[in-house]
Subunit: 204 residues, 2 copies
């Protein structure tokens, strides 16, 4: 059952209010696909708080997570039309990124990923969103496409009150170290073990 009581109150000189409002870096890692799903669930909650949601998908396939994209962008339109909740931006690294409108090369994923990170860095520095979901961002870090030390530095130095959720397997230890909250999704039992295929609505 949910509990809001910390085990101990630290002697950091912060008030309860300040501690309650601490901006967080959250990492969802582990073997299971719940990583992204839980991140989009957080975005649901943030939307209801009126937060400006920014989702950045570092995946190539347009097939995956289209359900979450449709639902969250529908919530963004609810905000535009009624004022309820917050605005939602959803960007994905398909053929380039949506903000550039350029045709991606489809040949240099590393350059696309780096461009995505640079855009996110700019937004963090200018406080463009209240919640960032950097979906599958552990992979560009793992593959050396972006500099992990720079990512950690930018996250540590980000101004204001911006929450950042990073998802993906094999989170770098430096990212885990910099994070406030790390959740690992562990497989106990999965229907694909029994030969089931991924299915609409559950897997994408």
């Amino acid at each position: 059952m949910p509990q809001g009581q910390p085990a101990a109150v630290p002697a950091d000189g912060l008030t309860t209010r300040q501690r309650r409002n601490r901006p967080l870096v959250v990492v969802h890692t582990g073997e299971m696909k719940g990583k992204s799903t839980a991140a989009f669930g957080l975005a649901l909650r943030g939307w209801n708080q009126g937060w400006r949601i920014g989702v950045f998908q570092f995946v190539k396939s347009a097939k995956w997570k289209v359900g979450e994209e449709e639902a969250l962008t529908a919530l963004g339109r609810v905000h535009e039309q009624t004022g309820q909740g917050g605005p939602v931006e959803w960007h994905k690294m398909g053929q380039g990124w949506s903000w550039t409108r350029k045709q991606g090369t489809e040949t240099d994923h590393a350059a696309d990923a780096l461009e995505g990170w640079h855009e996110i860095r700019r937004r963090l520095e200018t406080e463009q969103h209240d919640l960032y979901v950097l979906d599958e961002f552990t992979y560009p870090m793992k593959w050396g496409w972006v500099d992990v030390d720079e990512v950690v530095q930018v996250l540590r130095d980000r101004p204001g009150h911006q929450h950042v959720v990073v998802t993906g397997r094999d989170a770098d230890p430096r990212l885990v170290e910099a994070a406030d909250l790390v959740v690992e999704m562990t497989k106990i039992k999965h229907p694909m073990d029994a030969g089931a295929k991924g299915q609409r609505g559950i897997e994408w």
Copy 2:
């Protein structure tokens, strides 16, 4: 990265399409709060498929998860107004259940939980929803308020193509056995360890 290939194709006589459309029982358990969040993320995806979403919260506090409730019911209104996505019903066991409209006694949580389960059983038997989120339903099972064998039997025998997600700690082994997919959310690091308080948008 997402992968849709099963390790082996079972000799169960099913076609790929049949296997892809198998209705699932999913359990989100473990120590971390991502359990419910990931379940509501699944509901996002299901909504986009046009599924009839039914959420049943077996928690007493109205404070928790109000963000998800607001967001998902907003999506339900989008469906009513535009036809996009599917309908959403959200019921919680506060002062009784919303379908009864009666004033709950606030004294017999066990009876309220049992009434909730009986309503869910009726809906499963008459195929009222395509995705059921039974949030924190492991606790009434753990506390003996509902009969675990009956729950498992009803889930096993449910007709049609209804997905059921159960969340909560300490999932009963019989439920785990009956489930197709079990994900455990494991804490690696949590800000409450450092004395932070639960905060709006992240914790509720």
